[in-house]
Structures are given as structure tokens and as C-alpha cells.
Symmetry: C2
């Protein structure tokens, strides 16, 4: 735990995000501020299989625990799972002191977070993110939610956890693709706020970082600090927090058009960021997108991920349920680390930038 | 609108509670700060029938409105209604600017409030309370929720409205019992915070106040100020807000034992407050409970409301799902206006106070 860092995030109440090695081996130390009498564990089924020893250790920190296993995969973020977990909690006789521990990636974190916010109007919530993506993104900031037939994350709440414990060792059990996908968001933090991240990753094959835990610890800590700062300034996503959506307007549309599951979120974000860089340049920005493009191969971007014509993509962006009115807003960059939000007046420019992205990334693939 | 008052309540964001006559006739003035493009109206079915002209006027303040009619009655506070209204909102294509207007009593306010907090992680919410109880209590303070098979209000959120508009004229369509029941909470505010309310009501038949709108306006404004102050100090019910539960530990148990619907909430609160006064005296308080007892006849307290033996009542109190650990906590009074929270160490004292309440109120009934 030598380089462990505790990063304070201030939502409506301040909470700690602890990032480091061996965190969960020493969990008893970290949860001594909580009521350890009784807890509800909501666990991703894959994690439950792969990390059974770790989970037993966590359970030993409580007098009494009750498990709810969530089937792995995005499909679990639905209203039926939500209702079932709520029933489970209430039938087990939870009180407002019963801690809910969410163990898994973004799916379990978002789902269990929404349950925690809803049962008795709020149970204490602890996130134990087990994917790189969840460590640097979804476990921080208090967004919870489930999907609806009309779109993703359309039902949920803003609800801050009492603590987040990100243990680098847990990343060992991720598949290569799961590991790589976390870098969609990591590169994003580099682009919008901390270009040092881009320098650290420059010239590296991202997969090689699996073996360098100290480096990963440091990178994750940098990302958590950025996210923590942004969400502290804008708890309820009314303004500044929008910069976290760099690349995401395109990414959501790409995921929607290809069909969920056909491309990983991190890959879609990567492609979206490349397009947003081109768009930034068209709007007067000065961005060296090569620092992103060099990772196209590591990110396993394939030609079929790019097989979307511009009109279809733009239509998908315009039908985003969450957006204000009928205009296209993008987070763009003056330069790396200097984001701004802009309404792009000319749809032709957007089309050009998307075509350029397709060309460059397809070309990069054929030369990789 | 001569004596209209706007009372500021400060949750996570400050909002106005406007109480007066003719508020809704002038609704356009009050909502000019909101997005009036599109709104979802969630309306109690009885109110929709009885106040159709008023509702048409309210709708005229928006460019586009969509109605969801909630069947009147506590049974509507369930997860199916919740899911249906959420579906309705999302299928109508709401955005984060779409205001949800809740028109009805506590049931619609709690249900629609929970929907508003959950759709897109929060739609702007406006309460138009149409019962006396909702005006002085449930519409203020940001508690939302639905019932579960294991108990009332066990699923929900803390979510503050953007505004509350309580129009005294709306009270005209209440039944006598609905009107009277609001006085359970009104007398409570007198007991815990503002004994002037007890003086105003002293010697009056509560039903006669229906005709005195200026008096009602002033009483409601007093109550809203107290509730606003308490919930501002304790948004998430972690401490001070508990004083609002004066009489309620008994009341919830009475409602549970008799079966929901067999006694109105306001009547149960009235009986609970009498018992809490006796308990306060046993714990050294100096309370003139005659100022409550004189209203037993107005409150239509019947012998069958009191037909609960002490053991059954205490058992029901001990199984309250929300309470901390296994102890009985009560809000008691040093004197009117001076509440404190106490754990009563001796169950026999509680039993005695309940028997005394039964005796006195049964006696009051037989002499009324």
C-alpha cells in the first residue's frame, strides 16, 4: 500500500476514493468508520466467480452479510433487476445503517447505486469497482441509473457513495479487451485536463501496462483526481461536468447505430475523441491528435467499428433523449487540457470530420 | 391574494412555497421562471373530476401538456404505478427542462415526486397540494416515496421541488373528514413549535374553520414556516427533523394494527399526540394536553380507533422497519414548543400512557 492515495470528493457530502495496491486485503482498516453490523453485497456474477477468496475476506469484515448476485452484462441494468434487489434488501430487513457494497463494473455500480439511493430513501453505499473503467469513471461522481426501452441511463438518481475502494490487484482478472477499454476514459482525462497522462502513455503499447502496477496506480490516481474535482464543482451535471463528455456525443451515437455490445464503450469513446479533435481544429483549436491516434491499434479499433455513414450518425446524435432542445452540442478543445462547449452551427463540418476519422482510422488499421 | 405569503425553504436548492387565496388563478405569474414549453401533469383522479376548470387554466400556462391520471387512494403508491408514470414520461420524450406538475394530496405528491427524481435523474418538480394535509406537511421537505409489501414509504428519495403552490380555495372540495384530518399535523406544529396555533384553535369547532379562509391562510402559513425551517436544518432526516414525528411513533402503530384505511392519518396522529403528552409528563414534562383533548370530537375520534391493547401496539412499534436498532424512541415535550427526543427505558410507562389515552378519549366520545 506504499503509494496508496486517498482522494477526497465533495458531493453533497465529502467521501474518500482510495486507490492503490492491496486495498481490499486491508479493508477492515478502511471501513472502521461504517456500521459493520450488517451489509448487503451486490456482486457481479463474473467477479463473484473469479474473486471468491477476496469476497470472503470482505464479508469477514461484517457481522452479517447478504449476497445478491447480478448476472454480468449491460442487460442487467433494467427495471426488473432493480425491483428484485430492492425487494431483496427490504425482505432482509435493512435499516438506514445497513451498508450496501457494490462489487463490479459500471453495470453493478449504477444499478446498486440506484437501489441504495431508493431503499429507505438512502442506504450507505460503498463502491468496490473491479474494472478499470469503473475505477476511473463510473464509481465516482454519484450518477446512478438503469436503462429504459427508449435509451440508456434514463432512470436513476444523483447519489453519492460513502466511499470508493479501487484495488489495482483486482485488474488482474480482466480480459485484455476489458482492460484496454478503460483507456478510452483515461485518454479522455489526458485530453481535457491533464496532458501529462498523454505523455506517460506516449510510445507505449497500452496492454503492456498490465504488468506495471505502480504505473497503473499512478495513472488511475491522476484520473480520479480530475473526475473528483469536476464532479465536486458540478454535482448535478448542470454545467462544468459536461467537459467529461468529450468524445461522448459521437460515442453514444456510434454505440447506438452499431447496436449495444458490438463495440465496447471505451472504443467508441476513443473514436469519438478523434472526431472531436478534428472538429476542434475546424473550430480554431490547436490539437495534436497524433497522441491519441497512436493508440488506435492498442484500442483494437476495427474497420467494422467505423462502418457508419455520416447521415446515420448525425441522426442518432440528434435523437439523444437527454439533450437540450434540437441542437448538437460538443465538448471541443482549444488545445489539450483546455476544453470548451460549443454548438456547431454547420452540420457539414461535422460530416467532414467524421469522414476524416473513418479514413484515418481505417488506414491505421490496414497498416497495423 | 392580499395576504399571500411566499416562504423560502432551503434544501439543497432553495425553493418557494406560496400559500394564499387565488394563487392558481394567477399561476402564469408564478411559473414565469420555469420552462413553460412542455409539462407532464400527474393528477389525482378525484381532483381531476372536481377541479377540471382549474386544471384547464393551469394547462393553459404551458405550450404543451401531457396528463397522467392517478387513481385516488393510498393503493396507488406502489411500484407498478411508479413504473407506469416513468414509462409515460419517457415515452412522451421529456427532457431535463420538462416540468412535472403534481396535483393532489400526499399520495400523488409522494409518487410523482419519486418519478420526478428518477426520470433522467431529475425533472423540475412543482407541487400543487390539494389537501390540507399535503399543504402543511407532505408537499414540503422533499420526501418522496412509494409503499412496499413490507411497509409504507420504504422506497423513495429525498428530492426538493422547484416550487409549491398551495391555494386555499382548493380546500372547498374536500370532504369534512379530509379537511379535519389536516388538523392532526396542524395541532402537531402547535405542540412542537408554535403554541399560538393551539391558542388560535382553542374553543373552536375545527370544521367551522372551513368558512374562514383568511384564518386558514394564516394557520397554513404558520405551519409551512415551521416545516420549512425544520427541513432546512436537516434536509436528509438525520437529526432535528425527527421532532416532526411527534405523535407519529404511536400513530404509525395504530394505523398498522387497525389496518390502513380504517383510520385517517390525521386521526391517528391526534391520538398519538395525546399519548405522547402523557408520556412527556411521566418523563418530567409540563404539558397542558387539554388544548389537544378539546378537539377530540371535531377530529371524529371513535371508540373503535382506540380498540387496541397495549401489547399489540408496542409490538407494532417495535417492528417499524425504519427505526434504528431495537429500541423505542419518542419525540416528547418539556412543554408546548419545547420538544426533545427520548428513549423510554420503561415499557410499563408506555403501556400506562396508552391505557390512559384510551380511557380519556373513550370517555370524551361518550360525553360528546
Amino acid at each position: 500500500m506504499a503509494n496508496k492515495q486517498t482522494i477526497k470528493v465533495n458531493g453533497s457530502e465529502q467521501y474518500n476514493v482510495v486507490v492503490g495496491l492491496d486495498i481490499l486485503q486491508n479493508f477492515k482498516i478502511f471501513i472502521r468508520d461504517y456500521d459493520t453490523n450488517k451489509s448487503i453485497f451486490v456482486i457481479d456474477s463474473n467477479v463473484n466467480d473469479k474473486q471468491s477468496e477476496l469476497i470472503q475476506n470482505l464479508k469477514a469484515c461484517f457481522n452479517e452479510t447478504f449476497d445478491y448476485i447480478v448476472p454480468a452484462g449491460e442487460e442487467s441494468k433494467n427495471v426488473n433487476q432493480f425491483n428484485q434487489i430492492v425487494d431483496f434488501c427490504l425482505n432482509e430487513g435493512v435499516t438506514r445503517e445497513t451498508t450496501l457494497i457494490a462489487i463490479g463494473g459500471g453495470v453493478v455500480g449504477d444499478l446498486a447505486g440506484y437501489v441504495a439511493s431508493s431503499v429507505l430513501r438512502g442506504l450507505p453505499l460503498v463502491h468496490i469497482p473491479t474494472t478499470l473503467l469503473a475505477m476511473v469513471d463510473s464509481s465516482i461522481g454519484g450518477k446512478t441509473g438503469i436503462n429504459h426501452t427508449t435509451g440508456k441511463n434514463l432512470i436513476g438518481s444523483f447519489y453519492q457513495p460513502k466511499g470508493v475502494f479501487a484495488d489495482i490487484d483486482v485488474l488482474d482478472t480482466l480480459s485484455d479487451l476489458e482492460f484496454i477499454c478503460g483507456f478510452g476514459e483515461i485518454l479522455k482525462y489526458g485530453a481535457i485536463s491533464d496532458p501529462v497522462i498523454l505523455e506517460i502513455l506516449h510510445g507505449k503499447n497500452l496492454l503492456d501496462l498490465r504488468e506495471n502496477k505502480n504505473q497503473m496506480e499512478s495513472i488511475i490516481q491522476r484520473c480520479v483526481k480530475i473526475k473528483g474535482l469536476v464532479v465536486t464543482q458540478d454535482t448535478k451535471e448542470s454545467g462544468h461536468r459536461m467537459i467529461l463528455n468529450f468524445g461522448h456525443t459521437f460515442a453514444h451515437a456510434i454505440e447506438k447505430v452499431l447496436g449495444y455490445g458490438k463495440i465496447a464503450h471505451g472504443q467508441a469513446v476513443f473514436i469519438g475523441m478523434v472526431t472531436a479533435c478534428y472538429l476542434s481544429e475546424e473550430m480554431g483549436g490547436n490539437v495534436n491528435e497524433a497522441l491519441l491516434l497512436e493508440h488506435a491499434s492498442s484500442m483494437q479499433i476495427l474497420p467494422e467499428h467505423l462502418n457508419i455513414d455520416a447521415e446515420t450518425l448525425i441522426e442518432a446524435m440528434q435523437s439523444d433523449k437527454k439533450k437540450k432542445k434540437n441542437e448538437l452540442r460538443f465538448v471541443l478543445l482549444k488545445q489539450f487540457g483546455k476544453p470548451f462547449v460549443s454548438i456547431v452551427p454547420d452540420i457539414k463540418t461535422v460530416i467532414q470530420c467524421w469522414e476524416k476519422t473513418r479514413l484515418i482510422l481505417t488506414d491505421a488499421y490496414s497498416h497495423s
